[in-house]
Every structure is written in C-alpha cells, then in structure tokens.
Subunit: 401 residues, 2 copies
C-alpha cells in the first residue's frame, strides 16, 4: 500500500515502447474497404490508363493537316464517315478529307491525330464544315498519360485517400496489400463495475473506460477483438490477458496496492518492462509483454486512463498498424490567461479551454473527473524540466477534435 | 454540343445549397456505435457521478478530528472496525476513535469525513497508528463532483469524442439521440465503364469515381445505400435517380452534350437549380432536387468529380448530418515556387506539392488525370477576382490528409 519505488521518465518509457513497434504483416483488403488503410508494399500498375488515345472534348476526330487554313471565312469541308462513342469506337480507318463524330472519352479512330471541338465545326448533311485549325494531338488524351505501365503508383506506408482508391480502381487493383489492423482487447477490472451505458445504482459504478477505450482503438486504426469487465481476481484477469490479440489494454488495478493484481501477474507470466512513470496524471501506468502481446496497464481513474492511452497505447496501435505514431490532435498556439504549476521531474497533462487564442487551464484537476476532458477543448503539456508557465506564456495546445 | 449559356458563381451555387441543408431527424444510436456521431438533442443526466462519497486514495476512513495533533512523534491510535472496498462497502457506522480500511474508489463509510493516506498510517494488530493530520473532506471524492443530477452533459450538435462516450456511459446513457446519417446513392453513368477494381481491357475503362465517391461519403459521415454503374440511357438513369435516399451523386453525363441525359431528366422530373458553375475544373456541375432528394450532377472526369464533390456534395452530406460544413482539410501557409495563372471570373482549384513551406503547382492540369490528385499533397484556390499568383506569393494550401 505504498508508492512506487521509482518512476521512469516519459522519454524512457517511450524508448522502450519504440523498440516493440514494427508494423504487422500484410493482409489482402478489397478495394471497397481500403480507404484509410496503410499499404504494406508498393503497388505497381500492369496496365496503362488510359489504355487508348481518347477524345478530351466533344467534336470531330480528323487529321490536323486537313484543318490547315480553316477560318470562319474560309471554311473547309470534310466527309463524316462514322461516330466514336465511349465504349463504342469507330471500327474503320479514317482517311484524307474524312472526319468521325466523337464524344469526350471515346477512342480516337485509327488514322486520326486530333479532335476538332464542336465549337469550330458545323454539321452540313453528310459533311462537316471546319471553322478553325487544330494541331496534331490537340484535345487527345494519350495512352498512359494518367498511369503508365509498370509505374509505381503508391509506395508502402501510404495511408489510402479517397482519390487513391479511384486510381487503384482504374488500374484494376481489386485487392490491396495492407498492414493488418492491430487486434486489441480491452479488459476493465473492478468488482464494483456495471457494464457501459447501464444506469448506476447503490455502490455500483458504471464502466466509463471501456466505451472510451473502444472508441480510441477504432480512431487509431485498431480492430477491437473483445471488450470485457472482469472482477479483481487473479485467475479471471490472467484468463483475459491471454486472449489471442496483438495488444491488451487493461484498465484498473495497475498500481501497487494489494488489489492491484495486474502488474504482479504480468511480471510472473511475461515481462513487466515499465511500471510507474513520472507524469501526472497516469503515474501508475505499466507496459510489458506477454508472449507476442503488448500489454498496457492503464490506471482506472478515467482521466489517467485517457492520458496513458494517448501517451503509450495509442502510439502502439498506430505504430503496429503502420501509421504515423504521433498524436492525431491538431495543435494551435495561444497565451495562458493564468499561471499553471507543475513539479520539476514530472511531465504534466493539463486540460484547458481554448478560445480566440486564450488558453485557460481548467480548475478541476482530479484524475477521476472525466467530464474535465469533455469540457476541455484540449490539453497542454508541461515538460518535466519546468515548474509550470507564468500567465501570458505562449504554449501549444493539442485540440481534442 | 455547345457550351453552357452562362455559369453561376461558386458563391451563388453555395447560397442555393445552403438553403437546402437542415440536419436530418434524430435516431437512437447505441453507445458502442456513437463515436463520431452528432447529438440531435441535449443529453442531461438523471444520476450523480459519483453516486456516493468515495475514497480517492488507499488508506483509512475516519473522522478528521481524530487525527488532530498526530505526528510521527505523537502517533494516535484508532480501532479498525472494518473494510470498505469498491462495490463492497463497510456496512456499519463509524464512530469516535474508529477507522475503516479503505481502497481507492470505495464508498466512504457513514460517520467518516476523510481518508488518511496509507503513508500516514501504520497497522498495529486491530489498531492503526496515525502519523499525521487530515482535514474534513480530505481525499474524498464527493457525490456529483464529476456529473451532477440534471446537469446538461452535452448540447445538441456535439460530435462525440471517445471521452464523451466515457461520460455518457457513466451516467447510464445506453442509447443516444443522434442526427441520422445521410443515406447516399452513387450512380456512375457510362456505357464504357467496368466495375471498380476490374482490369481494364480493349476500349473499356474501369470506373474510378465510384470507389472514390464511396470513400468520400464515408469520410463525411454519410451512409452509402447503393453504388451502381448505369448505361447512358434515360430510363436506366431515371430509375437510379429514384432510389430512396437523401442524396444522389451522379457521376458523368452532367454537361450539355447529347449523351448528357441527367440534367434534362432532373429538369423534367424535379428541379435543376444550378447547372454550369464558373470554376475550373468542374464547370459542368449541376445541383437540384428530386422529391426529397438532393441530387448532384458531378462531371465524369475524375479530378472534376473530386472537386465538385468537395465543393458541393460533401458540404451537403456534412450539413445534413449535422456536422461542420467546412472542409475536413488542414490548411498550411507557404510560398509559391512559381507563377500560377487563372482567368478573371472563374475560381480555380490547383493541385500542388507542399514541402518545407514551398508550394509547387503540378504541371499536369488535365481534369482527366486523377493521379495528379494522388501525387499532390493538396490544393490551393485562385479566387474568381484574380488572374493568378506571382512566384513567391504566400497562399494557403488545403492538405489532402
């Protein structure tokens, strides 16, 4: 029932964590599900896009030389020998003095080298009267101008954007090699806990951390394999730790009290690499391994749980998933409206309100007050080598949304 | 086969659109699916959190008055009369000279007013020796300090964050009134089109816009009800327009050519409010209504399709879903490495590479070259009243990710 013998710095904890993070192996993902996924290997194209020369405007396919000297006052006449529509090309060969009506996107007929836009042409029975000149290649999209054969379309590590799916679709990539999403299980410990979203009563408390952690895992590209509440019981906790997942997030029982079974269990059965971190909140945070699993011991106090997830577990889920490990939060600069205090040797995570460049620390500091993180617009960090910031100090705020 | 008689400005098109956008009605959403959803009405709490006074540290519940004068050299002795654990409170009443062992989060026994931390206490058989003083209320979390009864926990319009789900869970909100997600259908027109992700061959082209639009709809909080490719045929297109959705996105056939059936159909059966917009790309964009549906006519050229979606259709999906209507893109400032030209009277959307503050417009300008949007880091806008920007101009870039 006493404190941690010593706490490691946040930096030291992150160095250990960094050594554990290698992107998971690839899996094939159908194109329709690939938005936001991370490529595990480069994608090259086996086809050219477009696969044929095509008209970029509605008009007439012809030989540019046949328009030489055409003006509104010197109209030239060509014979219309057919039509080319998208997917229904002109089957023949276009010759001297001939034109083929063509629609945007339609294949350029053999023998033609350019497209005369409709504005420079006038229909005259079986003929077209040409009012202006075009040069060879004009209004023609050429083979491979979007994607050439054997081009590397995307490199590994790319997080796929909506337009990337468009390009991948156009080269016929129906499935893509993506980094597997980390499978996570959430284990919330506590005899007093009711399942998320049930009305609390008597001396029971409703689990807040499970629903919060599930949303965080999803945000960071993880896949939630299981979420459970287990009693403060060694056997029950051990069974939950052994789920077949990549990452186990345990909430509660992470400290050094006699009901804190998780650190002991992890130390006995696997590796408790980090336990106790010089930060506030979240100092009773632990990390380790159990077989192939990365295990995070997150404090039960919900603000501490959020903070410890964001510093460590979220980083792991993003890293294992091949993503940028840094926070997804936007940062803004602003000025403190009042002093904020900390202690040398400890990193502080302080919730703040941000409005018009003014940063106001929330008065409520307790790690048990989750609503402080919903009233806050974001948070700031006070590094371990500072005692705080004076009023008026310019600092970065990480915005929660 | 001639151009638009006149084009409306982007501003005028947005004013029409704004008039169509009211958040959709509410639906009940289970807590576990509510991350990122938008509240349709305020949420108030019918319970206090915590629902009882609780210990904030491991130690001994007692009366603060019974610690008066205690120091390591003047230890006071109290009788231990029981234990209080989370979910297993001390059943009796604590009296003068008594203490109850208590764990963090456990209910404070009746008769106690404070918690003596374990560090200030020493067990001595059935007694505890007190080494220090506490004041009334010390290390006690009081009823309702996180959420009080009848408090408005979140207002309508809130996009729910992970920690919001934690707070909502703790007050027993198992279901939440959220703005219904807009149901969208994607109708890609073109006889030449192969389904997304199939290898193109002959004069067939693989649909790029369908997969791209599906990912954009998802990104903006819409729900994809249907995605189909239909031939350039009035009856087939009309049938697709009549799907039971909130928003119809039609790609292709949006201009004024003879195969462009969609504008005519919409004008005949519903309202074609906007057709032809003074912008590049995407000038052949249309918007209107068909019954309760908002219909967007997006150009078939994929860059134009992306741009028209982002300017108009995405805004509608975000607006109907109760979200911030502005672009989800981060902006950064930088300096142009070279001149970029436009025309007075037309808004330009130019793809650019952004590196270390330097903005380089991509040389490829064609609206058919979708890979220009995947090689680009983002885009800049040239307003209609400018002819462009000189080299070195400081401009905003909207980053694609």
């Amino acid at each position: 029932m006493h404190g941690f013998a010593q706490r490691v710095t946040v930096e030291a904890a992150l160095i250990w964590l960094e050594g554990q993070l290698r992107p998971l192996p690839a899996e094939q993902v159908p194109l329709a599900s690939a938005a936001g996924r991370v490529l595990a290997s480069p994608v090259t194209s086996s086809v050219a896009v477009p696969g044929f020369d095509r008209a970029m405007m509605d008009g007439f396919a012809l030989r540019a030389a046949n328009t030489a000297g055409a003006t509104p006052y010197n109209q030239l006449q060509l014979d219309i020998v057919g039509e080319s529509f998208p997917g229904r090309p002109f089957a023949g060969q276009l010759g001297q003095g001939q034109a083929v009506r063509i629609m945007t996107g339609a294949p350029l007929p053999a023998g033609a080298d350019s497209v005369l836009p409709a504005e420079l042409a006038q229909l005259d029975g079986p003929h077209v009267r040409v009012h202006g000149e075009v040069t060879p290649g004009k209004h023609v999209g050429s083979v491979g101008e979007d994607v050439s054969v054997d081009a590397i379309v995307f490199r590994e590590g790319r997080t796929l954007r909506p337009q990337d799916l468009g390009v991948l679709s156009s080269i016929g990539a129906g499935c893509l090699p993506c980094v597997r999403r980390p499978r996570a299980s959430i284990v919330v410990t506590g005899n007093e806990l009711l399942p998320g979203g049930t009305k609390p009563h008597g001396f029971q408390v409703t689990d807040a951390n499970g629903p919060m952690l599930a949303a965080l895992v999803e945000r960071d590209g993880g896949s939630l394999a299981k979420r459970q509440i287990v009693p403060d019981d060694r056997e029950a906790i051990l069974a939950a730790l052994l789920d077949d997942v990549d990452v186990v997030l345990v909430s509660g029982g992470s400290s050094v009290g006699e009901e804190d079974h998780v650190p002991t269990l992890l130390a006995e059965r696997g590796e408790l690499a980090i336990h106790g971190i010089a930060m506030r909140p979240s100092s009773p945070t632990g990390m380790g391994r159990l077989g192939a699993r990365l295990v995070f011991l997150l404090p039960g106090n919900p603000v501490s749980c959020l903070c410890a997830y964001d510093f460590f577990a979220g980083r792991a889920i993003r890293g294992l998933g091949g993503r940028n490990r840094e926070w997804p939060y936007r940062t803004v600069k602003g000025k403190l409206t009042r002093k904020i205090s900390s202690e040398i040797g400890r990193l502080d995570y302080a919730r703040v309100v941000f409005a018009d460049g003014a940063i106001t620390p929330l008065a409520i500091g307790g790690a048990s007050i989750l609503s402080s993180t919903t009233r806050a617009d974001g948070f700031l960090l006070i590094p371990a080598d500072l005692e705080g910031y004076p009023p008026g100090a310019e600092v970065n705020v990480f915005l929660y949304d």
